[in-house]
Symmetry: C3
Subunit: 165 residues, 3 copies
């Protein structure tokens, strides 16, 4: 018998799994190599293309915690990069993996999408998963939770999976 994909229904309000996590990014500034968790690796454009870091590409290995405290035990690492891409405002784009390796979860979630910073919340796609998140898909909602100059920012990541196996 045949069944077309269109008969599937997914309800945005009813994820099959949900996790709320916090992402902490400490940008390398030459003097903070002990604490830094990310670094700009692009050729500096010196803001000739606007005043909002257009083209800055930041590689990160950032801690993920269950609460807002940077010093809490990390429950995962976020590994990948973000880049800034607008001339007229701060606006970013992310591609990264959440790497879980704890007693609770072992596996990864792979994520990409636009981080439209001016919006209070913005959605990125969870495009795949492995291990305990085998073949998962979903949406992660970002909201900015703290910003301290260029040196530190914290994102709330509201992770909603709609395909769980």
């Amino acid at each position: 018998f045949f069944l077309t994909i269109n008969s599937k229904t997914l309800n945005p309000e009813k994820p099959c799994k949900r996790l709320v996590l916090y992402y902490h990014d400490i940008l390398f500034n030459v003097t903070n190599s002990a604490n830094a968790t990310s670094a700009n690796v692009s050729n500096p454009l010196n803001n000739v293309l606007g005043d909002f870091n257009f083209g800055m590409l930041v590689v990160f290995d950032d801690p993920i915690t269950r609460d807002q405290n940077l010093m809490s035990t990390s429950v995962a690492r976020a590994q990948g990069f973000y880049l800034y891409n607008m001339k007229s405002k701060y606006n970013a784009w992310f591609a990264y993996t959440l790497v879980f390796n704890s007693s609770e979860y072992c596996g990864t979630l792979n994520i990409m999408g636009a981080d439209i910073i001016e919006q209070k919340t913005r959605d990125l796609s969870i495009v795949g998963g492995t291990g305990d998140f085998f073949m998962a898909r979903g949406v992660v909602t970002f909201s900015t939770d703290a910003v301290e100059g260029l040196g530190y920012f914290r994102l709330k990541m509201d992770i909603k999976l709609y395909e769980c196996y």
Copy 2:
């Protein structure tokens, strides 16, 4: 009761949604910061690895229009990057988000894949979506629509979704 995924059928000729859009890229050349929509951010290799920009990585925030005219009202932005990756010919790779924020659509489509420029058409994957495109998947077919030196090119993007919710 159990149903395996393999009983799903998808027909390449029958997307559940289709959009034909045009992508315009104006590369920053030091003098055109007012009009530029993209910039090379990689460490220049000065073409020591072939003559086709191997390693050039371009961050963009490019307008998307319904017709071929760069001056038409944009219906979305394309935000992300492309890079050149062959020694023997022009060949690229894209990862980006189509950001829709109009009366017609609000949401994003996340896309990645090889842009095999020598082929008349080439297919990339739509790996996820949000908002009006919640959990979408599909294929986008690129074709080069115009090239003006290194400064401007236009792609036709034939977007076909096969998973719609």
Copy 3:
């Protein structure tokens, strides 16, 4: 009638398609432009952030073979990039496309995920496909098969698709 996605079952042990392939990477070192298949394009951080190439971003167009021999006929190309992202050990992140263009397969597989080098095997996500791999999804298991200094490494890629159309 309605059917929720959760009724789908996928068995990690029973992919609908499986391919074992080898990936060969020869890093550009200024003197080997004839043989090099990849190049570092990031702004060098000179290892100020640890001793493990943090921030190094490598663009590649790498041959893919059916056996371990670099000189075997390539059955595909791997096009995209990897980056190193840890201060305390070698650890990488990949996003790339397998481009098949042979009598056996024509099409692409799009892949992203963490390459946690210290693990004997690690899983990345196959997030989409085109052509003969239309709309495919799955998991690719990496294992390091050979390392020769910084100049050459070979990965075994065990490709398992769980959604085939």
